[in-house]
Symmetry: C2
Subunit: 283 residues, 2 copies
């Protein structure tokens, strides 16, 4: 059965109020469309855990720091709705830009510190826009659970902090990265890679793995652990590293010594396409 598609905030509320009143749980999967198997995992996990699965499809203009990145973020709503249907979603919320921002937005949610490192350094205002739109979606859908992919680890950390510190009455559920057979993490941006870039792109995952192996075999220095990863990436003529760091998994701040729960995280350009990936390291 096809999920309902709603475009208005008020319609979502009228649709979900009786669901909530009936004591049924609601799960939200926030997406920017262009759905792939990574999103599929988010929807499937929600389907297993809650009564009513809502997928939002909204390309949040303010979070794009580069206009060309926003413009190339084309989505096909019909395809995305069919994808949601196949994964068992109940409702797709696909608002136009003016439904989410009927007037110039003056209210922002800012998560300090966490937003300053990694992607935050290279994408000013990005996480403020992400936190703000997610807070809005939480206000509109009022979910019991919200599902976020671990690929966007810094986004996940920002949202988790926001939910805890603004006391949003919901649980954030992190969902593991889904990868292609060759290790490339699924991303809507992968489809923009030219064939030779696509062939080169798995070097990003291999680099992270090489750092992980060094740490597992006892290396306690982050720069040491990252050296072979950096060499792998530097040896690939199509790859240009934006950052490659070992960070504290909670604060996303780069660390020098290996201790505690960490992530090895990188952003690498392949031609005009910027890819991110990370590996979690349990303590």
């Amino acid at each position: 059965m096809n999920p309902e598609v709603l475009t208005a905030v008020a319609a979502v509320r009228s649709r979900l109020d009786p669901v909530r009143r009936a004591g049924r749980t609601i799960g939200l999967v926030p997406t920017m469309g262009a759905l792939h198997a990574g999103h599929g995992e988010l929807i499937s996990q929600a389907r297993r855990e809650v009564d009513c699965v809502v997928v939002s499809v909204f390309v949040n203009a303010p979070q794009f720091d580069r206009p060309d990145d926003y413009r190339s973020y084309l989505i096909n709503l019909q395809e995305d709705v069919a994808f949601c249907a196949a994964r068992g979603a109940d409702l797709v919320f696909a608002p136009p830009l003016e439904e989410m921002y009927p007037q110039p937005q003056r209210t922002f949610v800012e998560v300090a510190d966490l937003s300053d490192h990694l992607c935050g350094r290279f994408r000013p205002g990005h996480f403020r826009a992400v936190a703000t739109v997610v807070a809005k979606l939480f206000g509109i859908v009022a979910p019991d659970r919200a599902y976020f992919g671990e690929k966007d680890a810094q986004q996940l950390a920002v949202i988790e902090t926001m939910v805890t510190e603004l006391n949003f009455p919901l649980r954030v559920v992190p969902v593991p990265i889904v990868r292609e057979a060759d290790g490339l993490a699924l991303s809507s941006r992968n489809r923009r890679l030219r064939p030779e870039e696509r062939r080169a792109a798995p070097v990003l995952y291999r680099a992270l793995q090489s750092a992980q192996e060094r740490i597992r075999s006892g290396c306690h220095s982050a720069p040491e652990a990252l050296r072979p990863a950096r060499q792998l990436l530097d040896a690939c003529p199509l790859a240009r590293v934006e950052y490659l760091e070992v960070v504290d998994a909670a604060t996303m701040a780069p660390v020098a010594r290996i201790a505690g729960p960490l992530r090895i995280a990188a952003a690498v350009w392949f031609g005009a396409t910027r890819l991110i990936d990370n590996l979690y390291l349990a303590p």
Copy 2:
């Protein structure tokens, strides 16, 4: 019957979940304690409009720009609970500071523009801290309605904007100012006035009224309308004006020409005590 007093976020949620599940409406009256008849009006109006009335009593340290102001904001919880009982509140939420801020807060809600004028100019960070704690209270109580006094007109405008723009699923209910017989707006800070300051303080309301009269009798220039008000205040040796402005009622930005819904707003010091007051002017 005495209202229940809860101090833990989790306890409030367990208490209110079944209320909500039963389809009963919840009203929140956020206060910093030291309750007076102004708060009484907020509670009474909530009592008339919702099934379950929650009064929060929490002195939000981060919103105080002056440590001496925070220190003198003493509250007597027992008195406040008795006050809530008399007005028919069902629940008092009185968390300790560490329940609201168990770790250093990194997440903030910022309402741009609106927070920059009037009190915002003189109390840096104040409205950010207010918006943030109110967002937290909304997350904890998840009210259908929240009641705010018009005396803190800028705070009201900041909260209304936040609720609209972050899509909080609730209605903000503004409640008119309650005044003493001599016109002084009720405030927890009035009790700090020395006797001679208390006798002088109604000049603030008289000044606002004089501006209102000039506007009603056809004056279209804000500086013109404010001139006699300013003279009244300047003639009072105990009063020191921080600001006196005609502002747009929605944006709180000072205006020069009289048009649209406005507020005449002032902050005036009497000795060590800062009082604010305002009058709404329908268009």
